[in-house]
């Protein structure tokens, strides 16, 4: 009862209570804890304050208790000394008469017990010290409602022999009812003193039992006061630290919100600057940064706009004369039989090169459109198997001319992907014509070469792979094939009349879909190009339904 309990501060961790019940609440609580500086500052301040208050309170209580007990001990020993003095005086004065010892003893004890009853203390009178009778063995005279066991054994032992000095000890006073049944304990002080009874010449030890009820009440009052004060203090500290951190955190949060808005493209957002302190300077620097960013982005946007405009202009300016030349070429080409052979051949070459020029221009414009970010998807559910068959149909003439056999290897179920059918067809057409161009090993056109188009699809993605068995790709070339105007061997003549932009455009088309376009090849074993498209636009790809390295490829020699 006298021990001070460390006051417990209010729980500073939000969400700590329900954390064991719901994992979701726990996660939310932890997230809040991790995200909120304010919560952490307030919590640590409150915990530290609670520790300090507990230590100070404990010290204070110790001091108070010691002081109270010291005072009480002094007061009771003085009172006992008075009592014993008075009793001795009375006994001495009565010693002249010849009195019966038992009468004298009962006179003495009854008087002291009566005084104890009025003054609020209990009395236990033990038997003569010379006889060595223990209190526990009985034979004591005591105040009613005070048990003889209230006297501590250590104190009793002190009075084993006569003429011992007065002594005291803390004890637990045992109260009894009228039938000597124990009804309660309370802390108290036991003071012992010896009285010499002249009638029988024996020494009796009188134990005075002083309850510490009053002191206990005072202590509990002090404890209550300290607890209340500590709790109020904690609440106050929590409130103050919450307010103080709020002052710092609020501008930081505002800066965060503005930064988020800037990041989402609202470039005109700025922080409000008030005052001249650190936070105001942070806001000023932040705003400067935002302004610089805004200016840079505007410049880039302007550049991009100029670029797009340029592309559109070039488009118009180049296309019109090309149309005229084209028509003139057609007229000449139609009339070539009327010319002499050299002029006729010239007309043919003009026609052929115009075709190439036109394709090149179209490809260049397409690439510029990608670069300007002007390309848009018009998506629909596309079955890659249909695409493969359509592409094979349109490239059959070229394949036959090059003595290449096109094979389609497709499953029974449709392989669907949400895609722009025009772009996907263009990708596949590019891959197939590229494969036809490189289908013959070392340009050997004697036999019939194969190009296999494999299609596969699942719930996540659809893929199409074009495999040829021609010259293949040297190590490192599989990444370079998608570069603009890249040639495997600069010395080798271009046979197909391709522009050198086909695979680059295919790559851009694939990126637009969020898909993959990859190449595999090994010298002498041919190559495989694989296009993988996510089932839904914006879906992420984890794996392709088709392997990049074809299963028929032999293991590389190491």
């Amino acid at each position: 009862m006298l021990r001070a309990r460390a006051p417990r501060g209010p729980r500073a961790r939000p969400g700590e209570g329900p954390r064991r019940r719901v994992p979701g609440a726990l996660r939310r609580g932890l997230t809040f804890w991790r995200r909120s500086i304010q919560a952490r500052v307030v919590a640590s301040t409150v915990i530290l304050t609670a520790v300090v208050i507990a230590v100070v309170g404990w010290l204070l209580l110790q001091q108070t208790r010691d002081g109270l007990l010291d005072n009480r001990v002094k007061a009771v020993t003085a009172e006992v000394a008075d009592e014993v003095q008075e009793a001795n005086t009375r006994l001495t004065s009565a010693s002249g008469q010849d009195v019966d010892p038992s009468v004298q003893r009962s006179d003495l004890t009854e008087l002291i017990i009566a005084r104890g009853a009025t003054r609020g203390y209990g009395v236990v009178v033990a038997g003569p010290a010379e006889e060595g009778v223990r209190i526990a063995a009985g034979g004591t005279v005591r105040s009613s409602h005070f048990a003889a066991t209230s006297v501590p054994v250590s104190l009793e032992r002190h009075f084993d022999k006569p003429d011992a000095a007065m002594a005291w000890a803390y004890t637990s006073i045992v109260h009894t009812d009228n039938e000597d049944q124990v009804v309660g304990h309370e802390p108290g002080i036991a003071v012992g003193a010896q009285v010499h009874l002249p009638a029988d010449g024996s020494t009796y030890t009188i134990y005075f039992l002083f309850p510490l009820e009053e002191q206990a009440n005072t202590m509990s009052l002090v404890v209550r006061a300290l607890l209340t004060a500590g709790t109020l203090m904690l609440v106050l500290v929590a409130g103050v630290s919450w307010l103080v951190t709020r002052q710092v955190v609020t501008p930081v949060r505002m800066a965060r919100r503005v930064a988020e808005r800037l990041a989402s493209g609202r470039l005109q957002e700025r922080l409000r600057v008030s005052g001249d302190d650190d936070l105001a300077r942070l806001a000023t620097s932040f705003n400067q940064m935002a302004s610089n960013l805004q200016r840079q982005i505007r410049q880039l946007e302007e550049l991009s706009r100029v670029q797009r405009r340029f592309v559109a202009d070039v488009s118009h300016e180049l296309r019109t004369p090309l149309t005229t030349v084209r028509m003139a070429g057609d007229v000449l080409h139609d009339a070539r039989r009327d010319f002499d052979p050299a002029t006729g051949r010239a007309a043919e070459l003009l026609q052929k090169e115009l075709d190439r020029f036109e394709t090149l221009l179209v490809d260049l414009l397409e690439i510029s459109r990608f670069d300007a970010g002007a390309a848009v998807l018009e998506t629909d559910d596309v079955n890659l198997i249909d695409v493969a068959h359509r592409v094979v149909d349109t490239t059959r003439a070229l394949a036959e001319q090059r003595r290449v056999r096109l094979e389609v290897d497709a499953p029974d179920h449709p392989c669907l992907a949400e895609a722009d059918v025009r772009r996907v067809e263009r990708i596949v057409r590019n891959l197939v014509t590229n494969a036809i161009d490189h289908a013959h090993p070392d340009g050997d056109r004697s036999g019939i070469a194969r190009v296999v188009i494999r299609v596969a699809g699942d719930d996540q993605a659809a893929a199409i792979a074009v495999r040829d068995f021609g010259v293949g790709l040297a190590p490192g070339e599989s990444a370079m094939v998608f570069n603009r105007f890249w040639r495997a061997d600069p010395a080798r003549a271009r046979t197909s009349g391709g522009t050198g932009l086909g695979l680059s455009i295919s790559m851009e088309d694939t990126h637009l879909h969020g898909g993959w376009l990859q190449a595999w090849g090994r010298p002498g074993e041919g190559s495989q190009f694989r296009l993988t498209l996510p089932r839904r636009v914006g879906g992420s790809l984890r794996q392709s339904p088709l392997p990049l390295v074809p299963e028929d490829a032999p293991e590389p020699v190491r």
Binding site: A312, S315, H316, R319, T320, P321, L322, T323, T324, R326, M327, A328, D330, V331, D334, E358, L361, R369
Partner: protein, 237 residues
């Protein structure tokens, strides 16, 4: 004498083509090619002179560039369409932009993207003037509309509805087989004469324009009905 000459030319040619293009070389080259194919051609290089030439020349087909000095090609297209249903084929350098849609919405029937192959252009022009050849007596009913195919007129309860030849062809195509759903690709082939897949925006834009003329409420069409995911069909109501 002049009338006689013009009449003789009409007999000699398959049709008159007005070329409106600011590029003089291209325009002249176009007339050379058209003449080889049996058409008569006249060139205008400024937008603001186009209407004058149109009234004077009364062409069977107009080839119209969109970027013109003097007056924008889109405006010229609208003005011609306001007074005549003559087929208009746009010449554009930008095949993938909103220009195409804007041009179609302002009244053009078809478009070709530069650089075009001359034969492709001639095929387009032929498809547009081909309707002059047929003259069979035929009358169709679609919804509450009556169509006189030979007389080239559409009436609702006796009141005529003014359609361009292309819109008329589109309506007749749907009305001839009211049980059939036409995909956009089939319509492109039957109405526009495309043999290969082409821009289906052509169909969408023209169906909208047709609806705005023949439907009671173009928002809830009853005569030209959309079949979701497939195409269009004639309404049964």
């Amino acid at each position: 004498m002049a009338e006689h000459a013009a009449g003789a030319m009409d007999l000699a040619t398959k049709g008159r083509v007005l070329v409106v293009d600011d590029d003089a070389s291209l325009a002249e080259m176009l007339t050379i090619v058209l003449r080889q194919e049996g058409f008569d051609g006249r060139v205008v290089t400024r937008g603001d002179l186009a209407m004058e030439a149109f009234h004077d020349y009364r062409p069977d087909v107009v080839l119209l560039d969109l970027m013109l000095p003097g007056k924008d090609g889109i405006d010229v297209c609208r003005e011609i369409r306001a007074e005549s249903g003559v087929p208009i084929v746009m010449l554009t350098a930008k095949g993938d932009t909103v220009d195409v849609v804007v041009g179609l919405e302002s009244g053009a029937d078809d478009y070709v993207v530069k650089p075009f192959k001359p034969k492709e252009l001639v095929a387009r022009i032929r498809a547009r003037v081909r309707r002059n050849d047929r003259a069979a007596q035929e009358s169709l009913v679609i919804g509450d509309l009556s169509i006189d195919v030979a007389g080239h007129s559409v009436t609702r309860h006796g009141a005529p509805i003014n359609l361009t030849p292309l819109e008329f062809d589109l309506l007749v195509c749907l009305a001839r087989k009211p049980w059939q759903v036409f995909t956009r690709e089939v319509l492109l082939e039957q109405v526009w004469g495309y043999r290969h897949a082409a821009d289906t925006r052509l169909v969408n834009v023209h169906v909208q324009r047709l609806r705005s003329k023949v439907e009671h409420d173009p928002e809830n069409p009853e005569i030209v009905v959309t079949v979701r995911g497939v195409g269009y069909k004639a309404g049964t109501a």
